[in-house]
Symmetry: C2
Subunit: 152 residues, 2 copies
């Protein structure tokens, strides 16, 4: 059985996430997804829109996902040690260096292949958490400007 590990925040699920997880699953038999903790997202990116319980709660319900776990706060290799994947699937835009990860794994006597997955090439409009947030803010700004016009 080939076990694949995928990771991410999965805040406001979009088609890029779905594509990444489907492609990851194709690499083997069992897909375990590590969902980043709120504290880790705050440190590395920004305040998550939706809390970790919800992000993992939705990821767990996806067909291609066999198991979902919350990440560790500090050491990303601790979770690898626990899951023991044969393959670690990286998303096209995840800022990790494949070679560096492979070296770090070797240092820890962990034997996993690191695979970089391609970019989702469907409609741009269906891809990206920042895009969804941008759309909500544009609609809000538009509504506010309409209200100002009405006041005049």
């Amino acid at each position: 059985m080939v076990k694949i590990m995928a990771t991410g925040t999965f805040d406001l699920l979009h088609m890029g996430h779905i594509y990444y997880l489907k492609e990851a699953k194709k690499l083997g038999d069992k897909l375990v997804v590590v969902v980043a903790r709120d504290s880790t997202v705050r440190k590395l990116k920004h305040e998550p829109v939706t809390p970790e319980e919800m992000r993992i709660g939705i990821v767990r319900e996806l067909k291609m996902v066999d198991e979902a776990v919350l990440g560790y706060e500090d050491d990303m290799y601790a979770v690898v040690k626990e899951i023991k994947p044969d393959i670690i699937a990286l998303g096209y835009d995840q800022i990790h260096d494949e070679k560096k990860i492979e070296n770090e794994l070797k240092k820890r006597n962990l034997d996993a292949q690191v695979v970089r997955l391609p970019k989702y090439t469907g409609m741009e409009d269906l891809n990206g958490t920042r895009r969804i947030i941008g759309k909500i803010i544009s609609a809000y700004e538009f509504q506010k400007s309409m209200e100002k016009l009405e006041e005049k």
Copy 2:
């Protein structure tokens, strides 16, 4: 085989959606989900944040969903005629009158039981598209006010 039909917009998926679909699935064997068209959402609610291809694309990937279809623009009973469900599952907050639907079904010689599902009682914070939108707008307003302070 008991076929259940569930309906909704499923814009920015949250735990209330997951709960509704899981409870709906428990009523029988096969769950068919009707995802509202963008044009219908515009007419009945507001501009959807995410387009219909994405909303159906995600719903289709959920474990409890056996089939997902886009709704009809005008006649909600046309899709019932096509799906021929044994049970129509209504969410706790869907503004449909069970008795009225049952009467309309009878008029069309459609035989389906209408079941109103209970409310999701998990954490409030994990439930509601408007709540997610509100959180994004609050964060945006906060950031803008910080930037104004910095300019001074």
